[in-house]
């Protein structure tokens, strides 16, 4: 996409939410800590991947940062903006695509209408994201009869249309075949190139190699490592992270 930078510019946004500072975060359910004492800071741009084995607390951490879950302890602080402004500048894509029972196009239009985008602007944005994600030809099909790959592209298109400063992704390519995964990764790169901060959960190291700038490694609810992805993959510091990178079974 040659003009992905022009797709949406965040430079003119008076509210710059980043960096994100997470301090002493904990989350417990029935006195069992699923996340404990997690602290980190994320810079303005680039792609940060939260990795770790199943049950590490990755998705919970993502949902707390996005505001879908309230932490038991600790804080999530954005650099600026009211809570409404912060909400307006974020979007999230879930592992299982959640689509309304209407056409692909109407799904994107709905999200824009919720965010108060004018109809004229919305029409242009919808046309553009559907074109960019290769969904223009099936825009009028019922969203829920699309293939798994198409549905995941559609939820990414919907999130992209919102022009988020921060896009949270919870294993968006899980359960997809290599071709569909490549299409998803291509869109993620486009969104990132257009200026959105990407915060993504995965346990796919190949995806980390291909896309990540920075890695947060979580194990049993604790943050063991925060490093540039190249450093993490080549010289992971903790024993658990090294074992994870080497493909050993962790639980």
């Amino acid at each position: 996409m040659a003009d992905s930078e022009s797709h949406h510019s965040l430079n003119q946004d008076p509210v710059d939410m980043l960096p994100l500072v997470v301090d002493g975060l904990g989350f417990s359910v029935r006195e069992q800590w699923l996340i404990k004492d997690v602290s980190f800071s994320l810079g303005a741009r680039g792609r940060t991947f939260i990795v770790g084995p199943n049950g590490a607390g990755k998705s919970i951490l993502l949902k707390i940062c996005h505001g879908l879950l309230s932490p038991t302890t600790g804080t999530v602080r954005w650099a600026s903006g009211s809570s409404r402004q912060q909400r307006q500048r974020q979007a999230m894509v879930f592992q299982k695509p959640v689509l309304l029972r209407r056409s692909a196009r109407a799904n994107v239009e709905y999200a824009l209408s919720v965010r108060g985008v004018t109809k004229k602007d919305a029409r242009e944005r919808v046309d553009r994201v559907l074109e960019e994600t290769g969904l223009a030809a099936i825009a009028h099909k019922q969203a829920r009869v699309l293939s798994g790959g198409e549905q995941q592209r559609l939820v990414l298109a919907r999130a992209w249309a919102l022009r988020p400063q921060v896009l949270f992704l919870d294993e968006p390519a899980a359960h997809l075949d290599p071709a569909a995964t490549a299409a998803i990764e291509n869109i993620i790169q486009q969104v990132s190139n257009a200026g959105s901060k990407i915060i993504m959960v995965t346990h796919d190291l190949g995806q980390v190699r291909r896309l990540a700038d920075e890695v947060l490694f979580l194990h049993q609810g604790q943050l063991l490592e925060q490093a540039a992805s190249k450093d993490f993959l080549a010289h992971a510091k903790s024993q658990e992270a090294r074992a994870f990178v080497e493909g050993q079974l962790l639980w």
Binding site: H66, L68, A91, F94, V98, V114, R115, R144, V145
Partner: protein
């Protein structure tokens, strides 16, 4: 047996010749039930949706009461509406007792809990699926309610049709508040009860056949709607 056979022939003749009395009774029945369904839907759909997505103290109790109200005895509802509309009741001044309006009110009271309870269950199931996405987009509770009602429209049509089926088959409440007055408040179910007791089986059978056809049509529509839902949702 001969009586039954003769009555059946006369009943079919009444239907095929569009007997004015029979047509009048059928039309009044449909009018009363349709208006009751509209009123019950206007109240029951948003009420059920609000309970489905709302978080408030005593919510579980409200759901239990709502579900229990689906099985309210029609004669009790008829009695309650009678007391409200009777001359000494709070709405006695309006003179609604023994009018089609009173029957509509009784039917609406009877089926509103049915539509609300079925709506609550449908919307709650859908909200479980949509909740995080709607919260992520920043959708307000009111808009979420509207979105869920729109997206569940086909399933909710089944709830509305169930309400219509219940209303059109109702006899106990409408006979109390309507009085079964000839050419005024006589509907299919009350006429069937009256004519059977009088031994006039022809008209009772004729109306019974019409009522049966209506119920079959409603069930046919419900099945078609269900088929459409399955097809739409893949």
């Amino acid at each position: 047996m001969t009586d039954l056979g003769t009555s059946l022939v006369v009943a079919l003749d009444l239907i095929s010749s569009l007997d004015p009395d029979l047509v009048e009774i059928v039309l009044l029945s449909l009018r009363v039930s349709l208006v009751a369904v509209v009123i019950a839907s206007v109240i029951g759909l948003p009420l059920g949706a609000a309970i489905a997505i709302g978080k408030f103290p005593g919510r579980t109790g409200v759901v239990v009461v709502l579900n229990a109200m689906m099985g309210l005895p029609p004669v009790v509802i008829g009695l309650a509406v009678y007391l409200v509309l009777s001359r000494a009741g709070p709405l006695g001044a309006y003179g609604l007792l023994y009018t089609p309006t009173a029957m509509t009110i009784a039917q609406a009271v009877l089926i509103t809990p049915i539509i609300a309870a079925l709506t609550r269950q449908t919307i709650e199931d859908l909200y479980r699926e949509y909740r995080e996405q709607l919260q992520s987009l920043g959708v307000t509770p009111f808009r979420a309610m509207f979105t869920l009602l729109v997206d569940a429209r086909y399933s909710l049509l089944t709830a509305v049709l169930a309400g219509f089926g219940r209303a059109s088959a109702e006899v106990g409440a409408v006979i109390i508040v309507g009085g079964n007055i000839n050419h005024v408040t006589r509907v299919m179910t009350t006429t069937i009860a009256l004519e059977t007791s009088k031994g006039n089986l022809a008209l009772a059978l004729g109306l019974g056949i019409v009522l049966l056809c209506i119920v079959i049509v409603i069930n046919g529509i419900t099945s078609t709607v269900q088929w459409l839902i399955d097809r739409q949702q893949g």
